[in-house]
Symmetry: C2
Subunit: 577 residues, 2 copies
């Protein structure tokens, strides 16, 4: 609530002395403060709720007893994970009742640094979806890796001045935090000095280490895999973000948090959400529905999905249907099915029965300034020779991917072959540095992925988003990699010297300007082709590949300079004796 | 949590790598987040809680299973009502477990304007009780009255820079707010532009007027007299301050607010609290005890008495026993009697078994700068003649005071006498302007007060704190008034030309430098003397007098220019036909 609003006009309208702009008549209002339904009209003036009661308005809509809830808020997402630009993302989530998201532009920051963050801020300006930002705290995620940028506390400092920046994003380096790492302390002090929130990311952290992490000022966690873990973190004062996204699904394990005793410090988040899931499931509304289906209180679920997130992030005028709150409202069918029928953003109807009613135009962005986002590929064409493994030995170290998990395992196989051995389910994998033209290529082997022919490449490769390619032969690998390179980012599926399909993701190699349905159709086609190449059941062809390059999750990963043992943070030879 | 603290040292101590300064061993900790008791050690470093678990410390205190709660917070008090200076007030409330109060220096501001507010800020600096401030929003309380100062939005503006200023205090002019009064809008915008809280004061406000008041940004109310009133305000998004003080007692009516459904947006306050009640009852601990006695959850009560207040005012590091929170802790006997046995402020033991263990020194204050506080009397000596009523008529308009209430009534008596008529329980009452030497004296009659002889005077006279005197004869009235004047403030009881007793309140005519016990002993003596003069049962001799001058509460009041009908905000003749 800034002081630029005409408070006097709002008050006059609230008092019933002047007509409201919009009155939603005969609503049943879900009151998040007392967790009950209340009957009445909702009066809106200048985008702000000014009264609940009996009102007249310039526009009156009879809701005939339908239920009105506050707009839903995703408390933690990496918007890039949708592969959509912010405006296309908005189009996809608004019909599901999302009126605000808090995004951590960690992916684009790893590609394009503060330019990437600024690009996301600019390209989400003025949308009928409020996009707030937490500043990436760990770019790169480990000093071992070669990302497109490094962000220090000093780099982040000016960004706190942006009005939609709410704090410091997930402090993934929990061990560094507990050890008092100077760079992390500086970043924490930066956020604190601006009075901002600090999000956590500390799976399984417990006891005195957790005490230290919380003492450092980390206010939330979205990595709880069990109720007991969440309960300990709650008791230490953290807010718990219950995550149910595409990559990680913790809802079932954390259902007890929806109970009265715990719910007030919990919020709902997706973390990563692919376009297909947005279309087929929904967004935060999906988590609310799932919780209700599991027998949890819809009042608690809605409060967690809106008010609790607003409160945690200090967004004082969101998350409730009450005077002075922003008129971000959703009308739902009932509290069982929880189908979002109408969405109002700042008092304007933006979606009706799942269809957008507002025109959403792409915010103008200075393309010259964001060349680094639009042209994020800085690498030479590769050839089959670049994928030759020249080291020797009788034992082969192989990264084992696990269905449904993002952790990997290590397998040692008796073999002296420097080639892929698809018959043994061993294929070759490479990560090509693509930000700085260094020519670095890390090479290794992977099992469990399943392809028997061809190659698959992706520039979505956590967290540094270099170009990752897996294949049964060096020629197809080179073709897949070069296809993505030519598209300036994206995905490609190649077989026997032919490109079966490719999806261009020219925004940082992570996102595109297409709409969700188009992207999803393409992705579905490509996934089918990947299955045709042989990708195993339970393995997501692209997501699994993307996480194989993340050197902060156990056990064996591959980056631009080779295969890394995550536990020791050191390189491990792929052929040895 | 500023950035001046040594975060690295805190983290190291939390991680158990360095010794804590203090460890409270074997505590049972009341966890406000999950409302349960938890066993463990509490580690404190640099005044901050760094861990719950198992710790070693330079000083270790075995609590042998005693219960530790967060320090208690009074969410709304006029500290001046204690008649004690801030340091003496601190001495009185710390043993009761109060570690922070949010005061509205409304009384001293009416006497000495922003000098009065600054004086309170300076003289509460560095105490082992954190004194926070809300800026008085309605000085004077009505334009009709003659106070010592007028405070505009512009006057308040620089005070928001003070670190202990948390917002704008109770917006008593609720009708002006609903009507969009420019001055009030400016004050609201001032608070909002600094991101500060705005407290309310709107007894019985309901419906669309309440909507308008809340739309204006008013976040709390402490004037609820019934549960239904509180429930409506809660549903509109206000925080409810449950008030149980010396003047107003709403606890019984509001007990349902201690239930799970409502408690999370409710806090505990005293508003006004006299030294005798502080000594005999306690402070916020008393309200917690009373709620527990009434069968309410001690977990909810403690949370309301600490965490909820901190949260409402944006005090992020208070109100919980958790890492990163300030080590403001109380040790209580159990959750039934709730006797405060130990109080720690910033990790330092400041009270043991009801006795202060820390030396509390008066903060140094520049006396020259605050002459206006120290010498707040600007009026000539008065004489009996000044109290002559010269108007004529056959009907006498009399202010009727009501036992146990602060509202007054109007009584019209057939009488042409311009004198007091003690046999009919009608005495004379006068309010003498004392701030600006105008010589104004308002004269009238009062019934229900009860004195049969003598006079009683006080410079505590809400809200303008002019000099009020009630008596059966003009000579004693003059003597009582002159006695208070000579003391530069305070109370006096006079009978038959003799001063029976007086209490000097030289700090703005409202407070003194004596300790609570001394002030209370004196007050008790004076109250006994007032009873000897005949003050009726159920009437507090001084408080009733003080409120008779408050022209914003119905129905008939007296100010410096005469008797006022509050409902019409106009003067009413005291003798008429």
């Amino acid at each position: 609530m800034g002081t630029d609003r005409d408070l006097k006009a709002l008050i006059a309208s609230a008092a019933g002395e002047t007509e409201a702009d919009l009155v939603l008549k005969n609503a049943r209002i879900l009151n998040v403060f007392t967790k009950e339904l209340e009957e009445g009209d909702i009066a809106v003036k200048d985008g702000v709720i000014v009264g609940i009661g009996s009102y007249r308005g310039r526009v009156e809509t009879d809701l005939k007893g339908r239920i009105v809830c506050p707009g839903l808020i995703d408390g933690h997402i990496h918007l890039e994970s949708s592969m959509l630009s912010p405006s296309e993302f908005a189009k996809a989530v608004i019909p599901h009742g999302t009126t605000a998201v808090i995004t951590d532009p960690h992916e684009i920051a790893n590609v394009a640094g503060t330019d990437g963050i600024s690009y996301m801020i600019e390209s989400s300006k003025g949308l009928p979806l409020d996009v707030f930002f937490m500043l990436p705290s760990c770019v790169p995620s480990t000093p071992l890796d070669e990302s497109g940028a490094e962000l220090s506390a000093l780099n982040l400092e000016p960004l706190y001045m942006q009005e939609r920046v709410l704090g410091l994003a997930e402090l993934m380096n929990s061990y560094g935090t507990v050890a008092g790492d100077e760079d992390i302390i500086a970043k924490i002090n930066g956020a604190v000095s601006h009075g901002k929130a600090i999000d956590g990311h500390a799976p399984a952290l417990t006891g005195n280490s957790l005490n230290a992490y919380v003492t450092a000022g980390v206010g939330s966690d979205h990595e709880c895999f069990s109720f007991e873990e969440a309960r300990e973190k709650l008791m230490r004062g953290q807010h718990i973000m219950i995550r149910q996204g595409t990559a990680a699904k913790n809802l079932n394990a954390l259902l007890p948090l929806f109970d009265d005793k715990y719910c007030d410090r919990c919020l709902l988040v997706t973390d990563d959400k692919h376009p297909g899931d947005l279309i087929s499931q929904g967004h935060i509304d999906y988590i609310v529905r799932e919780a209700i289906k599991a027998g949890k209180s819809p009042y608690n679920a809605v409060k967690m999905a809106s008010f609790n997130a607003a409160k945690y992030f200090g967004l004082k005028d969101r998350g409730a249907v009450a005077p002075g709150y922003r008129a971000d409202l959703i009308v739902v069918s009932d509290l069982q099915d929880f189908t979002v029928e109408r969405v109002y953003k700042d008092g304007r109807l933006v979606s009706l029965k799942g269809e957008l009613t507002a025109e959403i135009t792409k915010p103008p962005v200075d393309q010259g300034r964001y060349r680094r986002v639009r042209h994020s590929f800085n690498m030479h064409e590769v050839s089959a020779e670049d994928f030759l493994i020249t080291s020797k030995g009788t034992k082969k170290r192989v990264i084992k991917v696990v269905p449904g998990e993002i952790i990997t395992d290590e397998v040692i196989v008796d073999s002296a072959s420097p080639e892929a051995e698809p018959d043994k389910d061993i294929i070759k994998i490479a990560v090509i540095e693509r930000h700085k033209g260094t020519g670095h290529i890390g090479l290794g082997f992977v099992t469990g992925y399943g392809i028997k022919k061809g190659a698959i490449a992706s520039s979505v490769a956590h967290d540094s988003h270099n170009l990752i390619v897996a294949g049964t032969n060096d020629e197809d690998m080179a073709l897949a990699a070069n296809t993505v390179r030519e598209n300036e980012g994206g995905l490609a599926v190649v077989c026997d010297g032919k490109v079966l399909s490719s999806l261009a993701l020219p925004l940082g190699g992570l996102m595109c300007e297409e709409d969700a349905a188009t992207v999803e159709a393409k992705l579905s086609e490509m996934k089918a082709q990947a299955r045709f190449l042989g990708v195993s059941e339970g393995i997501d062809p692209f997501m699994t590949l993307a996480f194989t390059a993340l050197p902060v999750i156990p056990k064996l990963r591959i980056i631009t300079k080779g295969v890394v043992d995550v536990n020791t943070q050191s390189y491990a030879p792929v052929l040895f004796d």
